[in-house]
Symmetry: C2
Subunit: 398 residues, 2 copies
DNA sequence: CTCTTTAGTTAGTTGATTTAACGAAATGCA
DNA sequence: TGCATTTCGTTAAATCAACTAACTAAAGAG
């Protein structure tokens, strides 16, 4: 018994309004006439929608753009001045938040480096960071549209519960309710305008959604932190996160990469994380230097151990990329997370494995991007998820 | 520059028509009032749509269903008598075709066991089988809605080209054009009403689409034939095949399952198919009995070799299932293909590996179904894909 | 300075859905 | 048997967002 939204004329208008907004998001600067051509709507309809959106501050009108013959069109862009979106990420060692415009421009950042403890404390951390951002001069006088939150664990498909977050020690937490009830929750936050998602999903969505131009058909974001996770977005009109049946898609850290391999803390053997997880790498390095044989030899031994461990991690990542490629057929792979700072040592071997593979001409490899500056990516992506929800949710937003 | 369909009232009407059809597909026997409640439309709108659909033979009206107080509603079902859909599958060793109703009821089957050779010959085989089906008494007097075709290789996302099909020796074949130009193409086939897809995608879609009741959120179909492939469907309103960027999703036969493992004919090492592919199993069994040491010992040796080979294949399948689970988080896995006839020997170990894994309470295993009767599944699924297209394509179908 | 071309707006029409009211078909109780 | 009740489905009028057609506006070309 699906409860799909009603198919009446207001719904149709909403669809068209969303189409105009998405078009201007991916193709900034289009004129009304160009919007009409791209959307299949008529100039009249587009003109009417644009007028409404200009009034609401959702769009801004640039100056004419002469050059060709005929009356020049006037450039339209998403509005940059009247709204603000918040995005936050709860990490193991701290939390981050950003305030952005409709175009994804970052207005302000905030960070705390206190390790995350209980869900209650984490919720309060988020609201405090949000409060800081809303006091920043750059966000003053703007209408707050909502808050997107990302965290290191899978979330139920309805976006209300954290199913588990091993690195935080959480298990089945109704985090959305905790956020709503948290102290210092901004009073201007519209009711219900909070999204919750896995940090890898949020980052993947941000990468697909915020970049101008044609979005990737299928983007895989691989998050290399203490654990290993992934987020996938597929393009069906606009980018959408692939969640799987219960929000568990992308839990690739415990895919089997080496049958009969090392034991993993999940109770199985040969998981991706046993070679590639931050915790496993740290453990391996500590183990390798436990018994210092010789003061002079130790640094060189340590150096060798590091190379071996990171090389193995790289090969594991390469195998993971190949398998993601074979399973999902992405056209773009983005690698982010703290481990990307070990750049060459891990990513070099990984890309070697990935690109050494034989690809058929009809099945070329995906474009692989490494984001060494991925610190705010999940928070930014969470804000983008909220923006998408605001655009796609049928309702007259003021 | 996306060329999305226009957002006018006819489009809205189409959406609502499709919603009614899909509702009656998943929930046969609903009344107009119940349809209104489930769809969010009003009784008036539903009544108007239903009248049109009844006139066109898309729906049939059953008798009233008394029992409760008040005027009883009249049961509605998808029409079974006025339309026919064709589905065909091109396999390595032969081809199969089915004729079905709107509900997926099989009206007639046809098969040929001549091994597939060239694309031209295969196209003609399909049209010949279709001709046979259309001469069957069960399909007489019905309007032909279209033809869905499935084959063992990935297809370009626009459904026109076969990117490659190693088991057929095909490479980048514009098969849709060949079909359109094939001799004996049924004259009553509407222009453009042909779909083309990978057999695993088709089978996955059929499993998700034709079963009454709520469809699975994410279904993975694993096809165990000469090669190993997979098809995925995700529920977004109705089931949709996940194709990846270029139609390459599901090419799991060459995912790496054992780093440094056996060499694969794809040029890489440790692919799934080196242990689980039909060709690899056959090769392993032949190799193992190449040198008959002793007439008396040979049968027992052979038996042992079979057990070892199939056991390894089963473990490989188990690992594959685990990795699909971790990557996509399906709620349902269906296993089909010729190898399912080796039931216990392969599937036993596979399910052992899958279920021996530690699952978190919030992340239970998927329901696993083995289809030993999967011979006509891809053909049936291809017909279902065509049906979905007929329902979802905006146009007034006669 | 007029002509041509393209951009955007105004006026009136179309069409699908809506609300409101009505007729139809069953059960249930006097 | 008869009448009230309940729910189903239809008819009639209203709404609303798109459309077509025709206009004005703003640039470049000759």
């Amino acid at each position: 018994m699906p409860t799909t939204p009603g198919g009446d004329q207001p719904y149709l208008k909403h669809l068209n309004r969303a189409r105009v907004l998405h078009l201007l998001r991916t193709h900034p600067g289009l004129s009304r006439a160009e919007l009409a051509a791209h959307s299949g709507l008529t100039k009249v309809t587009v003109g009417s929608l644009v007028t409404t959106l200009l009034d609401g501050g959702w769009l801004s009108e640039g100056h004419a753009r002469p050059g060709a013959t005929g009356r020049p069109g006037r450039e339209l862009h998403l509005g940059e001045t009247q709204h603000v979106l918040l995005g936050a990420e709860i990490g193991v060692l701290g939390a981050r938040a950003v305030a952005t415009t409709l175009r994804g421009t970052v207005l302000a950042r905030a960070e705390t480096r206190t390790p995350t403890t209980t869900p209650h404390a984490a919720a309060h951390t988020v609201t405090r960071l949000c409060g800081q951002l809303l006091q920043d001069p750059a966000t003053q006088g703007r209408e707050l549209l909502g808050l997107g939150v990302a965290l290191p664990g899978p979330v139920s498909p309805d976006g209300t519960r954290v199913l588990y977050a091993p690195n935080l020690g959480w298990d089945d937490v109704p985090f959305l309710d905790l956020l709503r009830a948290a102290p210092d929750l901004p009073a201007t936050l519209p009711a219900g305008a909070i999204t919750l998602d896995n940090e890898a999903n949020a980052a993947a969505f941000g990468e697909s959604f915020l970049r101008p131009g044609e979005p990737p058909q299928l983007l895989a974001y691989v998050s290399l932190g203490s654990g290993v996770g992934a987020g996938f977005t597929a393009l069906s009109g606009t980018p959408h996160v692939l969640r799987g049946a219960r929000g568990l898609a992308g839990e690739i850290g415990h895919a089997i990469i080496q049958p009969g391999g090392l034991y993993c803390h999940c109770g199985n053997r040969g998981c991706v994380e046993t070679l590639l997880g931050g915790w496993a790498i740290r453990a391996a390095l500590n183990l390798n230097v436990l018994d210092p044989l010789d003061e002079a030899l130790a640094p060189r031994l340590r150096e060798a151990a590091v190379q071996v461990t990171l090389g193995r991690a790289g090969e594991a990542l390469g195998q993971l990329l190949v398998n993601l490629h074979q399973t999902l057929g992405p056209d773009e792979i983005v690698i982010g997370g703290a481990l990307t700072r070990l750049d060459g040592a891990v990513l070099g071997p990984a890309l070697d494995v990935y690109h050494a593979r034989q690809w058929r001409p009809a099945a070329p490899p995906a474009r692989v991007t490494v984001r060494t500056d991925s610190l705010y990516l999940p928070a930014l992506g969470a804000a983008a998820q909220l923006l998408a929800r605001v655009i796609d949710t049928p309702q007259e937003p003021a």
